[in-house]
């Protein structure tokens, strides 16, 4: 390996370092958050699940209605 190649590799790694460092910091933060979430206590009650499901049904209906109107507009 000659000095030109070594210089090229060093330059490439140097150029990538900030991005790699930022990625590593993000990964660390995400894993830390993951472990915090996992350690957090809290079981959802059946009532809470039912409430979310009821709200979902209303949102689903509204989405379908909006899409039907949009599709009609797009095809007109």
């Amino acid at each position: 390996m000659n000095s030109t190649t070594i210089t090229a590799i060093i330059n490439l790694v140097t150029a990538l370092l900030p991005t790699l460092e930022a990625g590593a910091v993000t990964l660390y933060a995400d894993v830390k958050q993951l472990l915090a979430d996992a350690n957090a206590s809290g079981a959802a009650t059946p009532d809470q699940v039912s409430q979310v499901q009821a709200l979902d049904a209303a949102s689903d209906a509204a989405l379908e209605k909006a899409h039907a109107a949009y599709a009609a507009l797009a095809s007109s």
Partner: protein, 136 residues
């Protein structure tokens, strides 16, 4: 040989630079047997509904403006991503209702839900009606 080394370095760098950390975090969680508390998973399901409502708002806005081009050209994409998010959310809720806490893992319901949420938020961001939180 030299070119191969440079190419390998470049690919490794780009792979690390370009990928999201979601998959890596999931892999870490899966490897360590992490489960997400059902209350937290329920919050994700709730976020999916909020994103769906934004999708509805977007479609209704385009209908009111009588437009399906320009900023309103994402209608079908938004709808399809919202539908995919609904399926992921329903699967997550069904899992919570039956099992409680949700294990992490590629192909699991929690990962599918967070991926669907990310996809929908991404297209909503393109429409300009979703603004990611500054600290996320």
């Amino acid at each position: 040989m030299k070119l191969h080394m440079l190419a390998a370095l470049a690919v490794a760098g780009l792979a690390l630079a370009g990928c999201t950390t979601t998959g890596l975090v999931s892999a870490v969680g899966q490897a360590t047997g992490v489960t997400i508390p059902s209350s937290r998973a329920l919050a994700v399901a709730d976020s999916l509904r909020t994103a769906e409502d934004l999708a509805t708002t977007y479609l209704n806005g385009c209908v009111a403006a009588k437009s399906h081009t320009g900023a309103c050209a994402y209608g079908e994409t938004v709808y399809n991503d919202a539908k995919a998010a609904n399926i992921a959310r329903d699967n997550l809720l069904a899992f919570i209702a039956k099992h409680g806490d949700v294990p992490l893992g590629v192909g699991g319901v929690y990962d599918a839900a967070t991926t669907a949420l990310s996809t929908l938020q991404s297209v909503l961001t393109q429409t300009g009606i979703y603004k990611p939180a500054a600290n996320s």
